[in-house]
């Protein structure tokens, strides 16, 4: 395949990565934005989403599409509940003290990860996508006979991957509507702006925090459920998304939601494209160092506010 078609494939793959990343990183961003909490266990909530989706799909069994839909609805809620419980039991007890929160969420990471290892096992298990037709993509060339449409072998994607991209956009739009148009969203944003004022106005800050923590986890879970028909569920699958989410949230700017989306698109696309053309390890090294340097020299990221 020539460069053009190759690049197109890389871009499509990058778009899928970006879509999942946007959802996952958004969860981290909301939690940090509203609660000022760095949740190191965020990747494990992502993993839980995939694992629970596998359980549900296996239990329901009837038809992959049915199982998948049930999973997509039920699993994020379950993960959100687990997260909210962790918030009530651990984080609220330590009053969100920064150092202790880091330590507590690291502990939570290992608890979730290792419990999954004990119950789900160390193997990677696939989940059937609800539908998966191959779609060939045409390419254009100027040949001897003028403008031609050709169908390069290998240039294609699947209907499911396109669905992932669309689903992510839909979910993010719904989230945006929630944050800006509903009372719940208003309460969340008010609590983020000024916790004490919100409390003075009768907002049950503790409950809002539990909701927000659950929402953040649920978003990550949704990202994993969407990706699991492509990638397989594995107890260690939370590690890379955690790091990538950190990268996205920092580059986009801690506390800025639009920044998160833009950064996710940038990083998802470039990760996809660079990985196709260069060694993925080298790409990761560069990405990691870039993030570190951004934090060092421009701590507010692309769109964040200083002292966020």
């Amino acid at each position: 395949m020539d460069f053009g078609p190759h690049f197109l494939i890389a871009s499509l793959e990058g778009a899928v990565t970006a879509a999942i990343l946007a959802l996952t990183a958004m969860g981290l961003s909301i939690v940090f934005g509203v609660m000022r909490v760095v949740n190191v266990a965020h990747g494990e909530f992502y993993m839980l989403g995939a694992v629970i989706a596998w359980w549900i799909a296996t239990l329901v069994g009837v038809h992959p599409a049915f199982g998948f839909v049930v999973a997509l609805i039920v699993a994020p809620v379950l993960v959100g509940l687990i997260a909210a419980t962790a918030d009530k039991l651990i984080l609220q007890r330590i009053e969100y003290d920064p150092d202790r929160t880091i330590v507590g969420t690291i502990g939570l990471l290992y608890i979730i990860q290792q419990t999954t290892l004990m119950t789900f096992g160390p193997d990677a298990r696939p989940v059937q996508p609800p539908f998966n037709t191959r779609l060939s993509i045409p390419w254009f060339e100027f040949g001897e006979n003028g403008f031609q449409i050709i169908w390069p072998w290998g240039l294609g994607t699947t209907s499911y991957k396109l669905f992932v991209i669309v689903a992510a956009v839909v979910i993010l739009t719904a989230l945006w509507a929630l944050m800006t148009r509903t009372k719940l969203g208003l309460i969340m944003r008010a609590t983020q702006q000024d916790k004490e004022m919100a409390q003075a106005f009768g907002v049950p800050v503790d409950r809002v925090y539990a909701w927000v923590f659950g929402l953040g986890a649920g978003l990550a879970a949704m990202g994993a459920i969407l990706v699991v028909p492509i990638q397989q569920a594995h107890y260690l699958m939370g590690h890379d998304p955690l790091l990538l989410s950190f990268i996205v949230v920092i580059i986009g700017g801690l506390g800025s939601l639009p920044g998160t989306v833009i950064a996710a698109v940038l990083i998802g696309m470039s990760d996809g494209i660079i990985s196709v053309f260069f060694s993925p390890t080298l790409a990761k090294i560069i990405a990691t160092l870039v993030v570190a340097m951004v934090l060092v020299f421009r701590p507010q990221g692309l769109l964040g506010k200083l002292n966020a």
Binding site: D99, I102, V103, G104, Y110, H239, A292, L295
Partner: protein
Amino acid sequence: MTDVARSNLLHFGVLLLLVVLYFILPDYHVGNLARILVLAIYAMGYNLLFGYTGLLSLGHALFFAAGMYGLGMSMQYWTFNPASGFVAGLALALVMSAAVGFLALRTSGVAFMIVTLMFAQAGYLTILYFGEYTRGDEGFVIQQAERTLAGIDLTGPMERYFAALILFSVCFIFIAYLVRSPFGRTLVAIRENEERAKMLGYDILRHKLKAVILSGVISGAAGAAYALLFGYAGATFATTQYSIFPLLWVLLGGAGTTIGPLIGVIFMFYLIDYSSSITTAYMLIAGLALVLLTLFAPQGLAGELRKRFFPWLP
């Protein structure tokens, strides 16, 4: 008895106990203790930055691995002897900690944590990328024949134990002295109230940078010692998990105390040793330990002792 005298007695007592233990304990535990002592050096290095200066780094595995690979690669490819290899390990750790210090100290709090995490991750990925030389995750073995220092074969259990103990003692005493010195006291002041320390005339950045470098070099010494005494260098020691271990050990044993790191390593080592015979998911224990610690005993074992019974504990 003055506090200084009490503390000197305590430190001397601990070292004496460690010598005696060699003769009392069965071979299996002596081997464990040698490993524990080397890891305790790592924990002490971390404690200097986290416990005393109040800076939470999530990237110390970079320094440990720098020591490990500095010694390992120089012995493997440039036929360095153990002594020069050790120096090479220290030098590499020095360079890494100075670089990270210069860059990361421009940030604070959460950003500092993430920057250190990122640098360590980049280090780990670089080890993998040059897998041709480093053998990546698989790692490489340093031959027994090469591990002799001044005619002493370090692979024998007695030699290994006392080599570890000597290095531990040097670091232990050095840190005990450092935290009592004006420099060490200033680090504590920075941890307690940085703005106030600044307005007493102390150069905060310079102090923090020195703390990062000292912490990094001590961690590197541990890494180099580990490679030399246990004959192996591998990329697992550069992963995030190995950056989290010292945090766990120090928190468990007591951050900001001199004996806390050792206590923490001993406790965690045997806890994992015991639970890995029951299940492969032994890190679950580590997770539970971290959560319980941060909920109920954020001061750690030695820290609680100090709070309740022994305020003079250094």
